[in-house]
Symmetry: C2
Subunit: 545 residues, 2 copies
């Protein structure tokens, strides 16, 4: 009886969240027409069939930088840009299920207001920026549920970062999905269902900021904000072929976000930009930091954003694998192509041999630190609301051997292990400068074992979570797509362990039609500026402007 009531009540709550979302979508004007009943594998061509030529122009023709320029010059109105992105976001929602809310009225009112100003004002003047739902939202009557049934309808407010972006003139117009617990590298929940990859709907758009990546991957947004504690910005960006940056923690504020385990500080999440354009990463960081957010969130590092400039060729260390799980063939090809290009451009390219650095041990530590209470708080929030525990929640809590309900003393022990591991890794990096050698500037590595995984298969985090444990800044950037001819399976490979076997068995090129393949550049802790500067050099080596 109790259970049945609970079940009913959770369904009611989930519906109410979707009704709120649908109410925003229902306002879309003109109505969406031209979407086929049977959605195609790739959603990339859908907008063309629905949007006007002008809307296509606005959402596809410009880079962010160009769009900001014509907005500032008032060659285009904020309202026209906003309406185009609202409509395109609505198409994205139908195609890949990426929204939790479309802020139709609010965004248009904001746009009209910005248009009415005598002078354009702010770095992001007039730019529609999409946002991850659990961060909260500027404005009145905000609710935030973080994809927990138990929190559906809960009143909430804005956060410090969004207040800054807003004061820089942006338009908030779309809030995006995240998975149950916000701790999957995919994006599904009992509230909003499954978000899929805009290049191949049998694949995940990644997670936990997968609503963002799916939306930006549809150009339903050119700049979104995600958050990353184990790969949640980088993995989704990599899976849709966009740019994403995870800064070192405490450069950008999480102040005001809604999340579990408030007060946990063993491993910290950080917001990060997700965008179609490389140079916007730095613009975002610079703007967020120039506001001196530490005057309101005193936990932040007090340090200006100071762009870095290389004055000589880089020393790039390539991590071909992490010693635990072998990347899929398209990933290895991407690595080789970019490493070759860097060498050809005059950079020093060496190997990052991390077999002795225990990336498996790093996972043991971080997985334990994610859930120092064994997941008790989160599981009770889920079960208490009557919703089901999803498979990837089980994976990340119940199936990790080092996730335990710890005493404070046991927590200290694990935290001390973390610190010892960090020191060991720093020592290894510093040692690259021994014997008169130059120190490695950055590591070039996979952001995942492969392209976007088939749904529910994202069960190895090592390629991103490693850099969360170390708190190293890391950026992902698009490189190629899976090639049915070049990226054949290596049938002679013998997996080294159970995880390696799982990942090896997953691969077969035909599962990954159209799938983008991205790479990751990692720097030492708090050398955020250097990582973005390295990305510029690497892309130049690749022949990009």
């Amino acid at each position: 009886m109790g259970d049945a009531q609970n079940l009913q009540s959770w369904e009611v709550k989930a519906s109410s969240a979707r009704e709120r979302r649908d109410a925003g979508l229902a306002k879309v004007e003109p109505k969406l027409e031209g979407i086929p009943d049977q959605l195609p594998l790739s959603s990339q061509d859908l907008p063309k069939g629905v949007l006007t030529a002008r809307e296509i122009e606005i959402t596809e023709k410009y880079s962010v930088t160009e769009l900001l320029k014509i907005l500032r010059e008032r060659k285009i109105s904020v309202e026209e840009v906003t309406r185009a992105f609202l409509r395109r976001a609505a198409v994205a929602q139908v195609a890949v299920n990426c929204l939790t809310e479309l802020l139709w009225d609010q965004a248009i009112a904001r746009a009209k207001h910005l248009d009415s100003l005598p002078e354009p004002k702010g770095t992001f003047f007039g730019l529609p920026i999409s946002t991850k739902e659990h961060h909260g939202m500027v404005g009145d009557n905000v609710t935030t549920n973080a994809s927990y049934i138990g929190w559906v309808g809960d009143k909430h407010g804005s956060n410090l970062l969004y207040d800054i972006l807003y004061s820089e003139g942006c338009v908030f117009y779309a809030r995006t999905t995240q998975p149950q617990t916000i701790m999957h590298l995919e994006t599904s929940s009992n509230v909003y269902g499954v978000t899929v990859n805009p290049y191949n709907r049998t694949l995940t758009p990644g997670g936990s900021s997968g609503g963002e990546s799916a939306l930006v991957g549809m150009r339903g947004s050119l700049l979104g904000v995600g958050g990353d504690i184990g790969g949640s910005v980088r993995c989704p960006c990599a899976h849709v072929g966009i740019y994403g940056f995870k800064p070192s923690s405490k450069r950008i504020s999480v102040f005001g976000q809604r999340a579990n385990m408030a007060g946990k500080e063993t491993i910290l999440s950080t917001p990060g930009p997700m965008t179609v354009e490389r140079d916007v990463l730095e613009l975002f960081m610079k703007t967020a930091i120039a506001a001196e957010p530490w005057r309101h969130d005193p936990s932040l590092t007090v340090k200006e954003w100071k762009p870095y400039h290389f004055t000589k060729p880089l020393k790039i260390a390539v991590q071909w694998w992490d010693g635990v799980v072998k990347p899929h063939p398209p990933m290895l090809r991407a690595l080789k192509e970019v490493a070759d290009a860097c060498r050809k451009a005059g950079h020093e390219v060496v190997d990052w041999n991390c077999e002795s650095l225990g990336h498996d041990e790093a996972w043991d530590i971080i997985s334990g630190l994610y859930w120092p209470d064994g997941g008790k708080e989160v599981l009770s929030l889920i079960k208490g609301a009557g919703e089901s525990v999803l498979p990837l929640t089980k994976f990340i809590i119940e199936e990790q051997p080092n996730v335990k309900d710890r005493t404070v003393a046991e927590l200290w022990e694990l935290t001390a292990q973390r610190d010892a591991y960090r020191a060991r890794y720093a020592k290894a990096w510093t040692a690259t400068a021994a014997n008169g050698e130059r120190e490695v500037d950055v590591i070039l590595c996979p952001p995942s074992f492969g392209a976007a995984a088939p749904l529910e298969q994202s069960r190895y985090w090592g390629y991103t979570s490693q850099w969360n444990l170390l708190d190293y800044p890391a950026v992902v950037f698009p490189v190629t797509t899976v090639d049915q001819v070049k990226d054949v399976k290596d049938t002679s490979y013998v997996p080294k362990n159970e995880q390696d076997r799982f990942v090896y068995d997953m691969y077969s090129p035909e599962k990954y039609v159209n799938a983008p393949v991205s790479l990751q550049i990692v720097g030492r802790r708090q050398y955020d500026e250097k990582v973005l500067a390295a990305l510029v050099e690497v892309e130049r080596a690749m022949g990009r402007p």
Copy 2:
């Protein structure tokens, strides 16, 4: 039987630690002569009766800057300087019981080595630097006990900070006492007994870096290193009238120190310089940070030391009291004198009304965060070795109502309270810039409720621990001494609460003969450079160069 054995064994261990200390003292050449059997109230005149005229000249005539200059110019040998400070430290030991070890052979060997170099090298070339025992030590055959009987004789090594100072050419020659648990604002332990104030042996030299302050207060050292998690650098410096700086955490490394509760990160300790000369604080910070210690201790903030320069008069907020405990008359007089001098020099002086900012609540939070396991680990280390739990250990663990053995979830709750409190304080500071006003630059406040307390009476931490909870940088500097005429007791004052009553009842000027009185300057978190720049301006206003 077991107890008796245990008792015996702890006494044996304590003796062995003191024997190690005494073995170093026994090497002092020439032997100390001229110390009276009955030690006087103030130890300030003792060195004159023991040391040679040349030793007095070396240890008293020069500032640190001057001494470094003549050492660099080789106008004096490192060995001669080292021997003078070794002898003076030995006198200090007899007078105030401040040493755990005198590194006679090691220091002289080091000095000879430095003298043999073709060129002087390093910022601290030839300077004897004294150090707090639990930090560890450069060299072979090091043991570190942190004043725990249970750890006596334990092998240990150096730490990152000392490695840096060593590579900058200093001479380590004396290790100093700390109290049981390193968590008293005084300095006594079952290993080394009681360290007393060099100006008045009935008073404490403060703690927990009280061995350092007692030694520097005797000019047995001109620069020492302490550590601060609740006042342990500032309180002892204040009590002997020297300069001491507690930087924001994570600018100077604790990497390699010996301490309890490894892995605890709710409240962090930081090393800090303790010295006779103001400008050495900045030299110390600059040198420690220029070494890029984050390449070895990746938990540190990656940020250069960038000296700050005021270009207009300061806005100084005076905290006359903390809303909990009224400072003693000499402290209030010192505040008034310095505030008046600042006003006269053209600075804007306003009040820091913190009654509404809940400094008592801050204490509840930080006292709980000091001991998230209710003190279990530490108490079991003490009791397990058979030694007694000292009164100030009982005070700081057992007598604090918010010290509890917490679950991880309860720890998160308290940590979240800490973060909320920090945000509230930041908001109040930021609000001083509202309505077109200038923002407060620094707070001028007491570093303690009064001058050095009579032994075992240091039972109110609020004037220092407040800034540890907030992680604000803070510097203390000497102002005056207790004046038997001016600093009469305010007999009309009615204490506001039990703590206030305790502190009020403690005061009576004749208890504080000769006692130095110091003040504290506090800045916003991570504005370390600004705090030291403010100290220069405040001292100039006081008529100091």
